[in-house]
């Protein structure tokens, strides 16, 4: 038996307490339903900006909007000092429509010619993935008759530092260190490219790798200055943690329970069909690796940034965070997930409860796995029950009700959780479950209208003076004049 109690902000708590509103919204807009909270990202933004201020760094925080398709979240950030990271032409169009002007946007990822051309027309900074892209931009600036050079960054994929024998995984993005001479030649040769600086993107939250990446980008910046170029920013993309859970002990107990349930077949199964979520037992020993990310992370994203900037580099003999103010270099960050901390939740209606062939409890939800899915990773915090019924005290002598949450697709793999969920109160037909903190990559990242089931609708909710207001996502206003009326 284990619980995985979600971490819940006071704003989300206030919403969950207004059961009538949530049930009305659910009935009106259908299941599943995504709620986004445009007031949350600006708060998280302040956290990052506060750390930059501690180090006297002038920086830009780019919201990587691939993490969520809600327009309300972009509109909410458009009135703050945030910048925006668009990774497709569609995202760029959304950003422009939601209040971000071109110079507040950077473009990342693979780019087709239409995307590049629109970036150039709007003065969007292009974070170039390779040399071909830079050559393509150079050709385009000529034919688009642009009056100003195109702002570009060069994404580097190599963390090679002298004296370190670090073996990176193979990576499809970025420019290799062998190509640097060619890069410098290309940038120097042409006045149509305005080289802003180097960037990288981290796929890990390891503090050592983040510090190594930053050290590498500083080294490259120094080298570019020697080459006569004028880079004036460093872009350290990705790589900050997000904590979903309230309690460390619960997370640890869960991991132990899962592993023990695989090793000891006399224990009840904690994963569907004992599938193990990436682990399996082999001759009494546990093999494999977790098919889930750590939902409990003891450090917050701001502490991680502070730690990296406080790291002293013996090689450069400088504290990494001091480099920026001392040299007039800006630090760019591209958090997606961590800007969306506590910025959304997903509701789904209970449409059936039944036993499986082997007698496991199943709670069937009116949603499918694609509605709560980040690259097939398991969602690992307990859903909150939303019910018209008063809270019931279960019999403390009885074990709590436990079930696997299944989706409504007519397909055997359609589970919302492949782990067993323990309920403090047993859900009934017609109740709703709320999954907490789903805005970053879970809501609509891999959503599809499979089996012609509808995509989840999105509503934006704000709380001001104890009053909850809501809009359909697409109608969330750029200017909240309701504040004045209220």
């Amino acid at each position: 038996m284990y619980y995985l109690t979600p971490k819940i902000s006071s704003r989300v708590k206030t919403l969950l307490e207004d059961k009538n509103l949530l049930l009305q919204l659910g009935e009106a807009l259908g299941s599943p339903l995504n709620l986004v909270l445009p007031q949350a990202p600006p708060q998280n933004l302040e956290g990052f900006l506060g750390v930059l201020k501690e180090f006297k760094i002038r920086g830009k925080i780019f919201y990587a909007c691939k993490a969520n398709q809600a327009q309300a979240l972009i509109r909410g950030l458009s009135k703050t000092p945030a910048f925006l990271d668009a990774a497709s032409r569609g995202e760029l169009i959304d950003a422009l429509a939601c209040g971000f002007a071109g110079p507040r946007i950077e473009a990342t990822g693979p780019k087709n010619p239409e995307f590049l051309a629109l970036c150039l027309a709007h003065g969007v900074m292009i974070n170039a993935d390779d040399l071909n892209e830079l050559r393509q931009i150079r050709r385009m600036t000529a034919s688009l008759n642009l009056s100003r050079p195109a702002p570009v960054m060069a994404r580097i994929n190599d963390f090679a530092l002298p004296g370190e024998n670090f073996v990176p995984k193979d990576l499809r993005f970025g420019i290799r260190s062998q190509e640097l001479d060619e890069l410098f030649a290309l940038l120097k040769a042409d006045q149509s490219l305005d080289f802003t600086g180097f960037s990288c993107h981290l796929a890990t939250t390891s503090p050592r790798e983040r510090a190594m990446a930053l050290e590498n980008l500083i080294t490259l910046t120094l080298r570019a200055w020697e080459e006569g170029l004028n880079p004036r920013a460093i872009d350290l993309g990705g790589g900050f943690s997000l904590n979903f859970l309230a309690d460390r002990q619960e997370w640890e107990d869960y991991i132990s329970s899962l592993k023990n349930s695989l090793l000891d077949k006399t224990l009840p199964s904690y994963s569907w069909n004992d599938s193990g979520l990436g682990f399996w037992a082999e001759n009494g020993r546990l093999r494999g690796a977790a098919k889930f990310s750590d939902f409990y992370l003891p450090r917050d994203q701001f502490a991680e940034l502070r730690e990296t900037l406080s790291t002293h580099s013996p090689r450069l003999s400088i504290r990494l965070g001091d480099f920026f103010a001392e040299n007039g270099v800006k630090l760019y960050l591209e958090p997606g997930r961590s800007l969306l901390d506590q910025a959304g939740l997903t509701l789904a209606r209970v449409i059936n409860l039944k036993p499986s062939l082997r007698g496991e409890n199943l709670v069937i939800l009116e949603m499918n796995r694609t509605n709560l899915n980040s690259q097939d990773l398991e969602f690992l915090s307990d859903p909150v029950l939303i019910s018209e019924r008063p809270a019931e005290q279960g019999d403390p002598a009885e074990p709590p009700y436990a079930a696997f949450l299944a989706g409504s697709l007519c397909l055997p793999h359609d589970f919302i959780t492949r782990r067993k969920v323990f309920f403090r109160q047993k859900p009934r037909l017609g109740d709703w479950l709320a999954f907490i903190n789903t805005a970053g990559y879970f809501m609509d990242f891999a959503e599809s209208a499979v089996l012609k089931q509808p995509l989840a609708r999105k509503a934006a909710l704000c709380i001001k003076n104890n009053q909850i207001r809501w809009w359909l996502d697409e109608n969330y206003p750029l200017l909240e004049d309701w504040e004045e009326k209220a």
């Binding site: 796929a203 890990t204 020993r285 990310s293 001392e326």
Partner: protein, 435 residues
């Protein structure tokens, strides 16, 4: 004592009796097996020797040793390999103690570090050092000898034949044996030997608490994933936090004079934690725990977790003498060029050498703040007749230094807003690549 080869010094380590007033348990004799007396400082010298002693010819013949290790095993393997004219290649994503990396490099080992766990989930990512190791071996057939410490029976054997045999020879019957669980080779091999003298031996395994780090041993979850680990061999498991381990390392160090590393402290804590929970002993009993390595490798480990142990004895700092309301000695960037022309000050740039090298105000002197900070504790490195313009990144440190110096009667001024304001005014900076 004369010996011909360093490997003769592996093993035959002493047992140190822990006095009853320290362990406080009636009818108990508690011994520490001092593995730190091994030539390279740890119990892993035996493990490395056990795995390599029958393969020295292969190393002489040009094979290199390959292993997944970041600590004591890597050190010992490299030393043994190096004696045969060979070397170690180690592949790891587990280096948690920075000093270990430096020592391995000093010894001549080749380290390949793998990235940490990816948070951009990719289901096709092998995410496993073993995959990298196997690929390296396959791509270079015949080049490596893989010691495979987590599954190698020689790892068990050497501790059965030496560690366990030595304890049995010294003590005869042992009732309780307590050891940290890394590969689990030393604890299991030793315990199996001790059980031949006393089938009733109680074996206690010590591991780190969850999400905690004790160098060389596993934590609560990781222990389930080790190849040689078999829960049947351990009558009891004790999980120890790094703070508890440090507390007991200090007892070993300060009360027993044993300079052991934190994992030994964990074994000592685990031993007493287990033994104190037993019903009072009615008859004399004997317990042994392993002191697995030395303290010197782990300074950063202690500093990170117990900075209080290193804080004492700070001397008077110039910063304590800062005037309460220093004179305003700021020069605005907008007029600073005219002021410089007028006053001809010595311009002192407090930024780091790297930033100074990259770009600086013409005719300035670089005196990094960290250095000046220490120098000011000793005395003032400027004459009274010299006009100074202090410059830093944003004008805060320079204002502090100018305030202090002007209180000492020196004509020191600070550039308001620092180099940042200078840049904002688009004033010229020297930039060169040949300083």
């Amino acid at each position: 004592m004369i010996c011909k080869h360093i490997t003769e010094l592996i093993g035959n380590t002493p047992l140190l009796e822990v006095p009853p007033e320290i362990h406080g348990i009636a009818n108990l004799k508690l011994y520490a097996k001092l593995e730190l007396f091994n030539p390279w400082g740890s119990v892993k010298d035996r493990t490395a020797w056990g795995m390599l002693e029958n393969h020295l010819k292969e190393l002489e013949g040009g094979k290199r040793v390959i292993e997944l290790s970041s600590g004591n095993t890597a050190k010992a393997l490299q030393m043994l390999a190096s004696l045969q004219g060979s070397s170690l290649k180690t592949i790891t994503n587990r280096i948690k103690i920075p000093e270990q990396r430096d020592i391995l490099k000093l010894l001549g080992a080749e380290i390949e570090e793998l990235p940490g766990k990816s948070d951009c989930y990719d289901p096709n990512d092998p995410n496993d050092p073993m995959v990298t190791l196997q690929r390296e071996i396959q791509q270079h057939p015949g080049e490596y000898f893989f010691t495979d410490q987590y599954s190698n029976r020689d790892n068990l054997r050497i501790h059965y034949e030496t560690t366990g045999a030595e304890i049995a020879a010294d003590l005869g019957k042992v009732d309780y044996f307590i050891a940290g669980l890394g590969t689990t080779g030393s604890s299991r091999g030793t315990a199996e030997r001790l059980k031949t003298a006393n089938p009733g031996l109680v074996c206690v395994g010590v591991a780190a608490e969850k999400d905690d780090t004790l160098p060389g041993i596993r934590n609560r979850d990781e222990v389930l994933e080790v190849g040689l680990f078999d829960p049947k061999y351990y009558d009891e498991m004790v999980f120890v936090s790094s703070m508890q381990a440090i507390e007991y390392t200090l007892i070993l160090l300060r009360k027993l004079g044993v300079p052991a590393g934190p994992t030994s402290g964990a074994a000592f804590f685990g031993a007493l934690d287990f033994l104190k929970k037993l019903p009072p002993l009615s008859r004399p009993k004997t317990a042994v725990f392993i002191v697995c390595d030395r303290i010197e490798w782990y300074m950063s480990y202690f500093k990170e977790r117990r900075p209080d142990l290193f804080g004492g004895g700070k001397k008077q700092s110039w910063q304590e003498e800062l005037p309460d309301s220093p004179e305003n000695r700021e020069i605005a960037a907008s007029g600073v060029q005219a002021w410089i022309a007028e006053e001809n000050p010595l311009i002192v740039d407090l930024r780091s050498p790297l930033s100074y090298k990259a770009s600086r105000i013409e005719k300035s002197l670089n005196l990094p703040y960290d250095h000046l900070d220490r120098m000011l504790d000793e005395g003032i490195p400027f004459g009274k007749n010299q006009c100074l313009l202090l410059v830093c990144a944003v004008g805060e440190k320079s204002a502090k230094v100018a305030g202090y110096l002007s209180g000492k009667g020196i004509a020191a001024y600070s550039l308001a807003g620092g180099v940042t304001a200078w840049r904002d005014e688009t004033l010229p900076l020297e930039r060169s690549s040949h300083v």
